[in-house]
């Protein structure tokens, strides 16, 4: 971490039950949005292979204030008392808490996997949100995707090779019958396409900047760069989409993390002018 960055951990929300860490540059530029990063899956605010820490520090080094935090029941945050946990409620509380701590030009939310789902559901309606970057968020089929999928399935040269991998993979399949109770590993339910389309219409009408990143681990649901644009033509010319087949969903390679961080920083700098 650069010497002029400052990290401030704090609790917030009712009973101070939620926890996050705010990373600030030495000089805060009030014209820049504040970046908010919720959890990915069940991992705490550090993110997969420390991605969120590296991302927050890299963005702060570029002049952004960044808040990464644990939603209810993850990391160091507790679930609410007497009601169900709701990531949208947590995101609202996070933005409320930041409103009194930092000055910025609205908020941009960055979410990976379940985080993408969470920022979609919250960012749809909150007027403070200026931008949303979804990493491995919702995917929808298109005719061209179907053609690519079936072509790959039918003409795959290395089919036997992949079968071998699949067999090994089957041997290593998660032992669900022995999995601990209460652990939900199925994080996201895709909304119907019409609902997502309506959400995008609302976001774009509010002037929310939209970015979509799809990694290679979505390849049986996402197979070419413009798939999301083809699925939602209203996004054409109004959203940026990246398809990165050479990186994986949990960014297990350092080069992948560095590439993603550079991409996010570049996109955010473009938004900030």
């Amino acid at each position: 971490m650069s010497a002029d960055l400052r990290e401030t951990p704090y609790t917030f929300g009712e009973d101070c039950r939620l926890f996050g860490i705010l990373t600030r540059p030495g000089v805060v530029n009030a014209d820049r949005p504040v970046i908010v990063i919720p959890n990915t899956g069940i991992e705490h605010r550090v993110g997969p292979n420390r991605l969120h820490v590296q991302l927050a520090r890299a963005l702060a080094a570029s002049g952004f204030c960044v808040f990464r935090f644990d939603i209810s029941g993850l990391g160091d945050s507790d679930p609410p008392r007497g009601k169900s946990a709701n990531a949208s409620d947590d995101l609202k509380l996070a933005l409320d808490s930041l409103g009194t701590r930092v000055t910025g030009a609205g908020f941009v939310l960055v979410g990976l996997c379940s985080g993408a789902h969470d920022i979609h559901q919250f960012g749809r309606d909150d007027p403070r949100v200026r931008g949303l970057l979804f990493i491995d968020g919702y995917t929808y089929s298109t005719p061209h995707f179907q053609r690519l999928l079936w072509t790959a399935r039918l003409t795959h040269i290395g089919r036997s090779f992949r079968k071998l991998f699949a067999k090994l993979g089957e041997k290593l399949k998660p032992p669900t019958e022995d999995a601990p109770q209460g652990v939900d590993t199925d994080f996201v339910v895709w909304p119907p396409k019409a609902e997502t389309q309506a959400d995008y219409e609302r976001m774009l009408a509010r002037g929310v900047a939209l970015g979509f990143v799809f990694t290679g681990d979505t390849q049986w649901a996402y197979l070419y760069t413009d798939q999301h644009i083809d699925a939602f033509p209203l996004l054409r010319g109004k959203a940026q989409v990246w398809f990165l087949p050479h990186i994986d969903h949990t960014l297990t390679r350092r080069k992948a993390r560095e590439e993603l961080i550079a991409l996010v920083r570049h996109w955010l700098q473009g938004l900030s002018g």
Partner: protein
Amino acid sequence: MEPIHFGDSSKPLFGTHHRASGATRRAAVLLCPSWGMEYMRAYRGQRLLAMRLAEAGYETLRFDYSGTGDSEGHSLDARLDHWLADIGTAARELRDLSGTDQLVVFGLRFGCLLAEAARLRNGLSASLQISWDAPASGADYVALMQKLGADNDILKQARRNRDMLLPPHADDELHAHAWPAALAEAVTALPGIAGDARRLWITSRDVNTPAPAAAATLATDEAAHWHDARWIGTPWIPAAPVARIVEHLKQVLP
């Protein structure tokens, strides 16, 4: 729960202090976490352990080694010597926070090896060392991380199109985390735990690392699945073993 930064202000460590509630006991507990995927998997479980210890009256501190978690530093700059020094820094911080000199150093997995090395090399003083699922040695731990990384890659590659296979890990990565050569060499050379310190040796049902001769032992009924790549994404939250361990400590450290 009180999040804190401590140590050298130019490269602070991140920790979480759990204040003892009710009648404070004489001993304070320093939790030394594991590393990499195990650190991630065990995060919530270590938090639970810290909370239960604090509820039982033990001032407790958990923290991240430099270059890991929320602590300062780039992962590629991590060194074994730094981590051993971090344990000493955290021990001093906990003594200051708790006002007690009676320290329990409680390692989990790789953290057991680090705590033992801090004791032997840096003279870390503790009235009790607790080792939960300690690996047999540094080399044993590294070999396991290599195996799990390879198994995890098999799972990932099996789901990918053949022309989109992932590139291999870099030489200075281990199981998706930075693993610079100097760190790798030093960790691989770490011996197993054989010291004569006062020690409680805790094992999960599926861990069979032999206990040092003089250690008291506590075997839990739950499996931890540290050796199984299928469990990498499943949080380790051993509620029943934690309750049992805390009850045991209340007996031996009143």
